[in-house]
């Protein structure tokens, strides 16, 4: 574990949470996201798991077995997250519930003086985001949002290349995320915009957080989204569920697989009513004047779920795919002899480019050292301004001037 400070200044009220070996966690929402985080934190001698909260007894049982296997002791079980937060022995919580509960749970956790690792997004609108940030500041406790890509060697490398001046001044950028994720995005809670704020807030918040981190504050935002494929007519079937379908599409889940799926539901990804779109494009102008486009869609081939970034600078440009963990560098006025590939370190892990495992360990670092996390309050603020501004731009069909948002929702400090 490194002991380097991040470039985020220490929080005024933050104090070291605990000595080594005794940061005691509770997990609220024992699903797939918290699974990896919990395994990693239990593998670190500073992390302990005291309590778990979920309404699904099978998930409680699964996490209990994980804890006993990793730590040699069991955990306290809760079905109401407020009861878990009342447990005074818990220093920090991981909140990994569906998005619509992030706001309420995070605010309550800060009221109970817990440090909070909150899965992204930080609320589903700017009112909720502001409430989370104010509660975090008032508590003096550490907040980290699950923007795991910041911790991937790939994006750390991209940021380093941009900020070191290796490509000169960044002039333009474009990025793409493709995700073969219709299996769960059109089933269960994901399918409702009311639950997650919309595709930009739910899906590309990771990406927009990176662009704030790399390129700075935004000035103007415009965005478009539409539902092109995952709607009636997208597949030759009129069934509303997989169970009743006679013409199985590539997203078919057999009855025995539904229980093991992320959503535990079997709605037809084409015919079941949903208001989550399947593609979007966001255009951001940053304060520097630089513009950037970010695309996202669910249409890719199964072999192509990935993220791409291309940054053009005044002296050179870089481009690369997250999965390849390297970027191609081209010198602006150079020739073939100047082309090279820059490879970044691998972590031996592949969740979000290796970021999944690193982030929770860095969160432990922040708690031990009594400082803010890398993806802390300031990140939660500016990233939310971009992603929620983008969703607002698409919803209201207009260009969003960031000054309008920062005037209504000033950074709580």
């Amino acid at each position: 574990m490194g002991k380097k400070k991040t470039d985020t200044p220490a929080s005024a009220g933050a104090k070291p949470a605990a000595e080594k070996g005794s940061i005691r966690f509770g997990v609220i929402g024992c699903g797939g996201r918290a699974d990896g985080l919990t395994r990693t934190l239990m593998s670190d001698k500073r992390g302990d798991l005291l309590a778990i909260c979920d309404i699904d007894p099978e998930q409680i049982d699964h996490y209990e077995k994980m804890a006993k296997s990793s730590l040699g002791h069991g955990t306290k079980h809760y079905t109401d997250y407020k009861d878990l937060l009342d447990n005074a022995d818990i220093d920090a919580v991981i909140i990994a519930t569906p998005d619509q509960w992030h706001h309420e749970m995070a605010v309550e956790a800060f009221k109970k003086k817990k440090h909070v690792f909150l899965e992204k997004p930080a609320g589903t609108n700017l009112d909720q985001n502001q409430a989370i940030l104010k509660a975090a500041k008032a508590s003096g406790k550490t907040l980290e949002i699950g923007y795991v890509l910041r911790y991937s060697p790939f994006y750390q490398g991209v940021r380093s290349l941009v900020q070191s001046g290796d490509i000169g001044n960044p002039l333009a950028a474009d990025a793409l995320e493709e995700y073969y994720g219709a299996f769960h995005f059109y089933r269960g809670w994901w399918k409702s915009k009311g639950n997650n704020g919309g595709i930009m807030i739910q899906k590309i918040c990771h990406d927009m957080d990176l662009w704030y981190w790399i390129f700075g504050k935004p000035r103007k935002i415009v965005a478009f989204e539409s539902l092109m494929n995952f709607k009636p007519g997208g597949w030759d079937s009129k069934a509303k569920t997989c169970n009743e379908c006679k013409n199985h599409c590539p997203y078919y889940i057999p009855p025995e697989g539904v229980k093991a799926s992320k959503t535990k539901s079997n709605e037809c990804v084409y015919n079941d009513p949903h208001d989550i779109t399947d593609n979007c494009n966001v255009l951001v102008q940053f304060e520097s004047g630089m513009t950037m486009s970010q695309g996202m869609n669910f249409f890719n081939a199964v072999t192509r779920s990935d993220r791409f970034i291309h940054v053009v600078g005044s002296t050179g440009e870089i481009s690369g795919w997250l999965s390849e963990n390297m970027v191609r560098y081209d010198k602006r006025h150079g020739n073939d002899n100047d082309v090279k590939y820059l490879q970044f370190s691998t972590t031996g892990a592949d969740g979000h480019g290796g970021g999944d495992q690193i982030q929770i360990l860095k969160f432990l670092d922040a708690l031990v050292e009594g400082r803010e996390a890398l993806a802390g309050r300031e990140s939660a603020y500016w990233s939310s301004i971009i992603i929620m501004g983008a969703q607002m731009a698409a919803d209201q069909n207009r260009v969003i001037d960031v000054k309008e948002l920062t005037a209504k929702y000033p950074f709580p400090g």
Binding site: K4, P153, S345
Partner: protein, 62 residues
Amino acid sequence: MPTISGKLIIDKDNKLCVKTQISPQNPTLYDVPLEELFESYIDKDVHVDIWPVEIRLKKGGK
């Protein structure tokens, strides 16, 4: 078609090899002979891209 990256070497049997990981999860580097990489593509049209690679970050995260 996989993308292969690694140091180009000549192994003890005088074979041209790429020293590379065989999966993201396994950090061990193996000497993979070029003929093994290409043997399943013999008599097919292929696209081969070779560029110098520079290792930029030795350690993950920061």
